[in-house]
Amino acid sequence: MIEFEHVCKRFGDHVVIDDLSLRIADGEFFVLVGPSGSGKSTLLRTVNRLIHVDAGTVRVDGEDVATRDVETLRRGIGYAIQSVGLFPHRTVAENIATVPRLLHWPEDAVRARVAELIDMLRLDEPDIADRYPHTLSGGQQQRVGVARALAARPRIVLMDEPFGALDPLTRESLQTSLKAIQRETATTILFVTHDMDEAFGLGDRVGLMLDGKLIQVGAPLAFLRHPADERVRDFVGGTRARLRELAVRTVRDSMRGGEHAEGEPVDAAASLQDALGAMLAQGRDRLPVRDGIEHVGAIVLADLVLRP
């Protein structure tokens, strides 16, 4: 659990965080989104005390971070950044093992954990554990960065635009990996991005920050359907907000159960955006839906256009 209570931070005369309060529940995937300079990275960095707040308190699991020993605090919180920051003189395995080693885990526990993470993050090239970071692709480097952040099984992970520098395909595959791992381990993740699609795709809840203030906090759909004001409407994309909504809603919620259709079936867990793509690709306005191998219904173009 992370709590911000009346947090203020200024750099010189510039107010970066303006009396901000927020509570992130255990096991929640919370995404802070906003333009550059809105203060979202600064807010994230107050949690592991890379930045000290001027006023207010930040609590992790009910304890004020300012009263904790700073190294112990940081070792208990995963941390991944956009530039990755792998140690160039250490192998992939040594990079991943950084925090467990700082915590003096026994050597075989470290080795087992590294193997587990290499598997979990699909770093499955042979001998990748013994390679040096400069021999990896950008996507692989960030996978190692995420593995390093998760290594000591922290209950809280901070991620500062970790996928910002990756190409769209790599980013999507990493987002899928991260979301799956987060669900499985019930880790609390505070994730910062300026990309609305990423925010809505990953977040259980999203917080929009502008000029050091949280303008709106809520589930992705609530954001799209009930923007708090004009600024939020502009930021979520005006009419394109409806397109984003398709990415957030699933086929299961909008399909007609029991009905039949011709064509290649789509998965019930897929997004409406995927369904629309399949319709366009196949030149049909209705497609069958399956759940696993079982046929469960049909999805119809007209239902996508209608507001639920």
């Binding site: 890379l50 190294e71 112990t72 941390y79 950044i81 960065g145």
Partner: protein, 377 residues
């Protein structure tokens, strides 16, 4: 067919021209004793003219395997010049008075230098193993000549034989002065460099003062320190009893340290700069303490740059330590200045050559260390 490279032959032409020119200078000097100037003695000019002309002709006409021919002649000259000089000296000394000295002349030195440079040039591009083997073999053969006594007729060797004990002592003293300076420079300079880097004050007062010190002539600095150090020794007799005084090793090391600090500080800051900022940020964010960050991230990543700096400092210190002999700190400089005082050229040469070889050897050691760390990274 390989296109001839127009510039590849240039160093060969220049060096063989120097060799030909050197054939006109005195190969040896024969002097009645170690202090008087000698008479020129040039026993085999035609051999040199023939050898250097061959090298030049090979380069001009691009004969087959000209590179190999030039390298072979150069290697033979590097090894053979001292041998011939030694044999000539023995021949001269048979019928001469015991005080007669046979000194190496300008012709010898010029030709040996030209041959060594030619060998360096012609070996370039070959496998490193071949290069090292060629040089080591040449070095071993020259040393071998010294050991079996062929070179004993040369004044340089006789000077060394006469001064063996003082020479060994001076060599040890020189190494001691340099090593102590290097260790102190690292102990004092590395933390200062860290501080400069932290404060981002590479143009600050500290670096300014150190840079200014570099402009003070070494002789002047040694002289300036005599007063303060003598006063210190008087004020604290305990220091004086430890050998601390206006002259001697203490002010010498202090002056050498002042010269060594600037490069150590600069290279330390540069080494810390070589550590990627994102790796530092990640290390802090993951919970490394400042000491862990320094030992596990900054030191291993900045070490090659710092080592490159220490190499510069080591060579510079060995050179400057020669001057320290003037304030009684000992070292190989003693031979140089005593020789100048007495007008004994061979003594000057002995000291200078030893300092030169020492500097080259230390440079090689640091190059080896650098190569090791780079292979590791």
């Amino acid at each position: 067919m390989k296109r001839p490279e127009p510039l590849a032959a240039l160093p060969v032409l220049v060096l063989s021209a120097i060799g030909l020119l050197a054939a006109a200078f005195a190969f040896l000097h024969v002097a009645p004793n170690r202090l008087l100037a000698g008479q020129a003695f040039n026993p085999h000019p035609w051999l040199w003219i023939g050898a250097w002309s061959t090298v030049m002709a090979c380069a001009v006409f691009q004969v087959p395997r000209h590179r190999f021919v030039a390298a072979s002649i150069a290697w033979l000259a590097v090894v053979g010049l001292p041998l011939l000089a030694g044999l000539d000296a023995q021949r001269v000394l048979v019928h001469a008075a015991p005080s007669t000295r046979v000194q190496l002349g300008a012709g010898f030195w010029l030709m040996w230098l030209a041959a060594a440079l030619l060998l360096l040039d012609r070996l370039r591009g070959l496998r490193i193993g071949v290069q090292v083997a060629a040089w080591l073999a040449a070095l071993a053969l020259i040393l071998g000549q010294g050991v079996i006594g062929v070179l004993d007729g040369l004044a340089l060797l006789r000077e060394w034989h006469a001064q063996r004990a003082p020479f060994a002592e001076a060599l040890a003293g020189h190494l001691r002065l340099s090593a102590i300076t290097l260790v102190l420079a690292l102990l004092v300079g590395a933390p200062l460099g860290w501080w400069v880097w932290r404060r981002r004050r590479s143009d600050g007062v500290l670096v300014g003062v150190l840079a200014f010190l570099q402009t003070v002539p070494s002789l002047a600095l040694f002289g300036l320190l005599i007063g303060p150090f003598a006063w210190l020794a008087r004020a604290w007799p305990a220091l004086g009893s430890l050998g601390f005084g206006g002259t001697g090793a203490a002010p010498a090391v202090f002056a050498l340290l002042l010269y060594a600090l600037l490069p150590v500080v600069r290279y330390t800051a540069a080494g810390l700069d070589a550590v990627p900022a994102d790796a530092r940020e990640a290390a802090r964010g993951l919970g490394m303490s400042r000491a862990q960050l320094l030992l596990r991230v900054q030191l291993p990543l900045g070490w090659p740059v710092l080592l490159a700096g220490l190499r510069v400092v080591a060579v510079q210190t060995i050179g400057l330590a020669a001057v320290a002999a003037l304030i009684g700190a000992g070292g190989l400089g003693r031979f140089v200045f005593l020789g100048i005082g007495q007008g004994a050229t061979d003594m000057v040469l002995l000291g200078t050559l030893a300092i030169l070889v020492l500097a080259l050897a230390v440079d090689l050691v640091f190059q080896g260390l650098l190569a090791l760390t780079e292979r590791h990274a």
